[in-house]
Structure formats: structure tokens, C-alpha cells
């Protein structure tokens, strides 16, 4: 835990210094909402269409963060420094996944108000608790799969392609569950509570993939 905390602290400090990831994620999400607003020529979206737009936007922004997650490690020797140290390799996974989760939450602090402002989904305020719960579980999926894929890409030449090629298919179940879970919350007759089955799908997806990723992570980062 102490090692993971040290890595996480370093990653957050680096982001705070460079501001290379979060601003670009926020800008991308806002730009996407603006494009949908004018492209669809709609002031308001609801139901599955709103859920689809929001989930796709989150995905695009997440891909930015995923591609940059191990950038400093790769370009500035952080990987070697970590591998030289007598520490548990899963600490790196825990730290990077937590950092990605924090980035996603920070993004959503900007993206959700922008979504509400530009695409005005109905009853978002009424369904906010359920909406946030779904987002937290979706962020878990982005964090786990994103970290796994990003680590996988580090040692490959086509690292920028690994995210879309491997990450997207792996994330599909979580993306579908997120969109299907959010959709009913953004309708005029929303009950305000997400359907339990989508929460369960996301929770199980997160748990299964986290266990799998932790088990495989050593093999990914060592030569």
C-alpha cells in the first residue's frame, strides 16, 4: 500500500505540474458535447440517445488518459526505476488504476455539468445519485482495463494503437452496461434509480477484470 501510495502521489504531482492530461480530457468532452449539440441541432437529448452520447464522450476522453498513463514511465525511465526497486509489482497497477479513476472522476466533475448545459437531459438532477453510482462503476472499468491495456502497450512499438485495438473490445461490456443503465435515468418518467442488473453487470465486470489484471500485471511489465 505504501508503495502504491508513493507512485500515486508522484503521478498526481506530475499531473499537477504539467497539466497534460486532465485539461485535454475536459476540452475533448466539452468539444464533443458542442459538436453533438449543433450536429444534431437539438437543445435537449433524452433516453438512450443521451446515454449513448455521454458514454461515447467519456470513452474518448478516457482513451486520452489511457494513452498517457505510462508516458512518463516510458519516456523518462520510470519503469526501469520501479523495476529496480524491491517492491511488489502490483503496487504499480494499483497506483495507476487509482490515478486513472481519479482522472475520470475529475473529468466528470466538468463533463456532467457541460452535458447538462449543452444537451439538457431531462430529470438529471432527480436521477443524479443513480447516475453517479453508475459512473463510479464505469470509472472502475475504465481504470482497470485502461491500466491493463496501457501497461500492455508500453513495450510495443504500435503503442498508440493498442488502446483502440485491444482496449475498446475489452471495454464493450462495461460501455454497453453503462449506456443501458444511464438511458432510463435520462427520461421524463425516470424513477431516479438505476436498474439493478446494470449495476451488477458493472460491479462484476470490475471485480473480474481487476483480479485478472492483477494476476497478469507482473508478466506485462517485466521483460
Amino acid at each position: 500500500m505504501r508503495t502504491a501510495a508513493a507512485i500515486l502521489r508522484k503521478d498526481l504531482l506530475l499531473e499537477l505540474r504539467t497539466l497534460e492530461t486532465l485539461p485535454s480530457m475536459a476540452l475533448l468532452s466539452i468539444s464533443t458535447f458542442v459538436i453533438f449539440h449543433f450536429g444534431l441541432n437539438r437543445d435537449s437529448l433524452s433516453g438512450q440517445l443521451a446515454a449513448g452520447v455521454f458514454t461515447v464522450t467519456l470513452l474518448f476522453a478516457a482513451m486520452l488518459a489511457i494513452n498517457r498513463l505510462f508516458l512518463a514511465e516510458r519516456e523518462q525511465g520510470g519503469f526501469d526505476a520501479f523495476l529496480l526497486a524491491p517492491v511488489d509489482r502490483t503496487a504499480m497497477f494499483a497506483a495507476k488504476a487509482t490515478a486513472l479513476f481519479i482522472f475520470m472522476v475529475a473529468l466528470e466533475l466538468v463533463a456532467v455539468p457541460a452535458f447538462a448545459l449543452l444537451l439538457a437531459p431531462p430529470r438529471l438532477g432527480h436521477s443524479l445519485a443513480g447516475f453517479v453510482l453508475l459512473l463510479v462503476l464505469a470509472d472502475g472499468a475504465f481504470a482497470v482495463i485502461g491500466t491493463f491495456v496501457s501497461a500492455l502497450a508500453v513495450h510495443t512499438r504500435a503503442r498508440d494503437l493498442i488502446g483502440p485495438i485491444i482496449g475498446l473490445p475489452l471495454m464493450l461490456p462495461a460501455l454497453i452496461a453503462t449506456a443501458r443503465g444511464i438511458g432510463p435515468l435520462l427520461t421524463a418518467n425516470s424513477s431516479g434509480s438505476p436498474q439493478l442488473k446494470w449495476l451488477l453487470v458493472l460491479a462484476l465486470y470490475d471485480l473480474f477484470n481487476a483480479l485478472l489484471a492483477v494476476g497478469l500485471f507482473d508478466y506485462l511489465i517485466e521483460e
Binding site: A6, K10, A72, G78, A81, L84, P86
Partner: protein, 254 residues
């Protein structure tokens, strides 16, 4: 030259050269570094071929050879960053890579890359490494002072000169007081004064086991108890520094 703990032996796969008794044999204790027919390749290219040697506590091994001879690869294998493809590697008696976790805390690597984050300060970088190695925070100030970087310790690494970055790299490599130092061109970018500054940390007076490479063979020979000369991935010479004939040394870089 008196070499009380030096045992060197080399068997080349093709020519079966054996150089034993490079110095007086050590009566007891296991070698810090023991290589037995170590080979490593990158794709089709064999970088190291059947290297066998032993290095005992407190000794310095100088690895010589032209660019691409395999010096850095050897250091990275010893640092547990690369796996050997054939043969065996033992550090402190532990086989690599299986028991790499057991020896990592006892190794310090000073390689071509500083392994420092450019956007963090030297102090922040060393504090991060101190946390990885479970070293008390006070040690960070100690090593910063030792390399003369306390005043500039809060400057981002990207704003420092190459010499200053190298001094921080030395500080990082010795932060956890390693018993085995792997030094790849350790004095590159250092002016004479900085070289003197880091001498107690990584030089002969550090009194730790060292494996070093240098572009200055004469300087490396002066520090070495044992010399490994690499040519085409093979051990062209293994033995005491005074046994390496000037003509042989010249031929290594020809």
C-alpha cells in the same frame, strides 16, 4: 597489484579459453556476481555469448569494449532488468531472474538514463525513490548534500545541466546504500570537481562491489580488480588489469 579476493575465470564457448587465477583465490564466501555461460540475444543478434566470471565482495569489474559490444546489456541483466537467454546468473548467491526480488534492494544502477522525472525536482525524485526503497527521508538530504545538490534540490530536473542531472543520478543510485553498484559510464558529463565529489559514493573508496563500464579504458583499468573485455559478444579477455596487453586493448576499440 595485490588482489586478495579476486577469482576470474572465463570459458569462451568456441575457443574454450580459460583464465583462472587472475588473482589469489578467495578462501571463503560466495561471489557477489557469478555468471556461468551467460548469453543474451536481441532477435537474431547475439549480444552476449557464453560469458563466465565471478566477482567477489569489494571487487571492481571493468567491462571494456567498443560501442555495441554488450556492456550495457550485461549491466541491465545484472540489474534484473533483462533476462538471460542462456546460462546462469547469480547475484549474492541468488539465481536470476527467479530470485530477482531478493536482490533488487542490494543493487544500485547508474545507467545511461537518469531514471528521474524531468518535471519533478531532484528532491521530489529522491523522495519518491526513498519511498520505493523504504529509506528514511533524512537520507535524501544526506545524498543531496553528498553530491552538492542541496541548494538546487528544489529545481525541476529539466532545468538542470547535464552534469547536475548526473550528480542527482549518482544520488539516486546510492540512496539505498547498495552493496553492488552497476555503473555505466558513471562520470559522463561530470567535470573534475564533480568527479571528485561523487568519488566517495561510487568510486573505489566507496568500498562496495562494482561493475563499471567506461569510454576511458585507462581510467577503468586503474580502478579495476578484474577486467572483462567484450568483442562481438564474447569475452576477449578476462583477468587482472595488468594482464591486458596494450595491443589487445587497442584491438578492442579498433
Amino acid at each position: 597489484m595485490q588482489l586478495p579476493h579476486c577469482v576470474g575465470k572465463m570459458r569462451d564457448a568456441a575457443s574454450t579459453i580459460t583464465t583462472e587465477g587472475a588473482a589469489v583465490a578467495d578462501a571463503g564466501g560466495q561471489p557477489v556476481v557469478a555468471l556461468e555461460r551467460l548469453s543474451r540475444h536481441f532477435g537474431e543478434r547475439t549480444v552476449l555469448r557464453a560469458i563466465t566470471l565471478e566477482l567477489r565482495a569489494g571487487q571492481t569489474l571493468a567491462v571494456l569494449g567498443r560501442n555495441g559490444a554488450g556492456k550495457s546489456t550485461l549491466l541491465r541483466i545484472l540489474a534484473t532488468l533483462l533476462r538471460p537467454h542462456a546460462g546462469s546468473v547469480r547475484l549474492f548467491g541468488e539465481p536470476l531472474p527467479r530470485q530477482a526480488w531478493a536482490v533488487r534492494g542490494r543493487i544500485g544502477l547508474l545507467g545511461h538514463e537518469p531514471l528521474l522525472y524531468r518535471d519533478l525536482s531532484g528532491r521530489e525524485n529522491l523522495t519518491y525513490h526513498a519511498r520505493l526503497y523504504r529509506v528514511p527521508a533524512a537520507r535524501v538530504e544526506e545524498v543531496l548534500a553528498a553530491v552538492g545538490m542541496r541548494q538546487r534540490g528544489d529545481d525541476p530536473v529539466r532545468s538542470l545541466s547535464r552534469g547536475m542531472v548526473q550528480r542527482l543520478t549518482v544520488a539516486r543510485a546510492v540512496l539505498h546504500s547498495p552493496e553492488l553498484l552497476l555503473l555505466d559510464e558513471p562520470r559522463s558529463n561530470l567535470d573534475p570537481a564533480a568527479g571528485d565529489l561523487v568519488e566517495p559514493l561510487i568510486g573505489r573508496s566507496a568500498a562496495v562491489t562494482r561493475v563499471l563500464t567506461s569510454h576511458d579504458p585507462q581510467a577503468a583499468l586503474a580502478e579495476a580488480d578484474l577486467v572483462l573485455a567484450l568483442a562481438g559478444g564474447r569475452a576477449a579477455y578476462l583477468g587482472p588489469p595488468d594482464g591486458l596487453a596494450p595491443a589487445k586493448l587497442r584491438s578492442l576499440y579498433a
